[in-house]
């Protein structure tokens, strides 16, 4: 039985899980949710596996109709939905869930019992529309939950609010932890110093493939032989302005990589809206 119908996709709406690692050597990006820790939180609120398929809502505008009584959990960005982020609650058939405004963060995650039941490509339900993987959502599409409300064990939802210390306020100013990248030594000491001493701004030219940063142009070394690229890498193209590779980004590239984010920090960076000021610390 379908549990959710899409009324509007807003700025962006897709089904995502933990992606399809294992195919990078054929050029397939790992993909998956942009903020794993928030998606996992939404799933755990309902007792789901952390990697169960969720709806990923990008900024404002999405509108969903609930088709049968169920439980819904929301985590990540605060998009003004009646269900507050980091909570789960019972929702009755006919309810309209709206995400009308962009209070903090970029990506909100909507979980249903057992996760969304979606077709898989390379074993993953994640939508990567550029590469024709996953089923893109549009108005009128109905989605089913793996577990129906009647068979869902409500008592498993022990805590319907995520512990306060695990909730994240994405409007808080952030400094992120960097590790030296494979070409760290090719960059001038000035470039390395600029990276950590400057304030950077997330550019509006950012998407699921990469986040661009605005700030002082770094000195650029020569390009390198094409090399594998991991999400979180700070690639420095000719402009001298970093592109942080995200999960849908290319699997190889020829730009020198000065640094890479700690994996745990990539989730939070993905939630930084264009215009957000951020800083970096280098750890060794």
């Amino acid at each position: 039985m379908p549990v959710i119908e899409i009324i509007s996709t807003g700025v962006g709406l897709s089904v995502q899980d933990y992606g399809r690692p294992g195919w990078r050597r054929f050029g397939v990006p790992p993909g998956g949710v942009m903020d794993r820790s928030s998606a996992a939180a939404a799933n755990r609120l309902l007792g789901n596996r952390a990697d169960a398929p969720v709806l990923e809502v990008l900024m404002q505008g999405a509108k969903l109709r609930v088709l049968e009584d169920t439980w819904i959990a929301i985590a990540g960005a605060d998009l003004g939905c009646a269900i507050a982020p980091w909570t789960a609650c019972a929702v009755s058939a006919g309810t309209i869930l709206q995400f009308p405004m962009n209070r903090s963060g970029l990506w909100a995650y909507v979980a249903v019992p057992g996760g969304f039941d979606a077709d898989r490509w390379f074993g993953s339900a994640s939508v990567d529309s550029r590469n024709g993987l996953g089923r893109p959502l549009e108005r009128g599409v109905q989605l089913s939950a793996v577990t129906s409300a009647s068979s869902f064990k409500y008592e498993r939802v022990g805590r319907r609010v995520l512990a306060a210390e695990l909730q994240r306020d994405f409007s808080r100013p952030m400094e992120f932890e960097l590790l030296p990248g494979p070409q760290f030594d090719l960059f001038s000491s000035q470039a390395r110093a600029d990276l950590v001493s400057s304030e950077w701004t997330v550019s509006p030219r950012s998407d699921r493939t990469g986040f661009r940063l605005e700030g002082p142009a770094l000195n650029v070394p020569d390009s390198i032989r094409s090399e594998p690229v991991l999400p979180g890498s700070f690639q420095i193209p000719g402009s001298g302005l970093p592109i942080v590779t995200m999960v849908d980004g290319p699997t190889v590239g020829g730009y020198a990589k000065i640094a890479i984010l700690r994996e745990a920090d990539l989730d939070w960076l993905a939630q930084c809206r264009p215009g957000t000021k951020i800083g970096f610390n280098l750890c060794s």
Binding site: P21, G22, W23, R24, R25, F26, G27, V28, D119, R120, W121, F122, G123, R130, N131, G132, L133, L179, G181, P182, R225, S226, E227, P228, L230, G232, S233, P250, T251, V252, G253, I260, R262, E263
Partner: protein, 222 residues
């Protein structure tokens, strides 16, 4: 015919950490890379996650951090055989209509006629060095030096799948619609990447990808 290699083949290999769980091996010949690939698929080190191929390098990802010691030990204990001629590879013929939008400008830039560009581009037996950039996109080795050109100063916003192009020292074929800065010489209907074949789970990469690293590609003029 198999040739026994001694176990010191990878001793002292340069390993650069990349991220918390990744290690890059540099300056690998194609045959050394092949030995490592074979070993990773048959007797991977403890905690191995996946590997990614670069131009002359290989990234090995582990499931958990601080695996450098494990990797060193695994590499130095590698008792593999190099198989003559990389006999896992295949020869694939790709029919091309040489009517690409950059054929004329490439001819001017190289001082060749369009017919010469076509003849020179379609002559070699190319070798797939790696796949990347997009699913199924092959970087092909073997491009004649007369066709080595810098990438276009302003990349196109959209290149159709099946576009046959050249960039730097590589030839390639766009496998999905994407932006790109390569010079486009022609088109092929040859399916490099069949996303629909990846529905569910994929046990054999050949169902989805026409090519794999190590394969030979020959362009046929149509």
């Amino acid at each position: 015919m198999a040739q026994k290699t001694n176990s010191s083949l990878f001793q002292g290999a340069r390993i650069r950490p990349y991220g918390e769980r990744g290690y890059l091996l540099d300056q690998l010949s194609i045959s050394k890379r092949f030995v490592i690939e074979q070993a990773l698929s048959m007797t991977p080190p403890d905690g191995f996650d996946e590997y990614v191929i670069g131009a002359d390098n290989l990234l090995i990802l582990f499931q958990w951090p601080e695996s450098e010691g494990v990797l060193h030990e695994w590499l130095s204990g590698l008792q593999c055989e190099i198989l003559d001629g990389l006999n896992h590879s295949r020869r694939i013929e790709v029919p091309v209509r040489y009517d690409g939008p950059d054929l004329a400008t490439v001819a001017v830039a190289t001082g060749l006629s369009e017919a010469e560009v076509v003849a020179i581009h379609s002559a070699p037996e190319y070798r797939v060095r790696m796949m990347g950039f997009a699913p199924g996109f092959p970087y092909l080795d073997g491009l004649d030096e007369r066709l080595h050109l810098e990438r276009k100063a302003s990349p196109r916003d959209r290149i159709e799948p099946g576009s046959v192009g050249i960039g730097g020292s590589h030839a390639g074929i766009y496998s999905v619609a994407s932006p790109g800065g390569w010079h486009l010489l022609g088109r092929t209907d040859f399916p490099l990447f069949q996303a629909e074949q990846a529905r569910g789970t994929v046990s054999d990469a050949r169902q989805v990808f026409a090519l794999a690293a190590g394969d030979t590609v020959k362009f046929l003029v149509i």
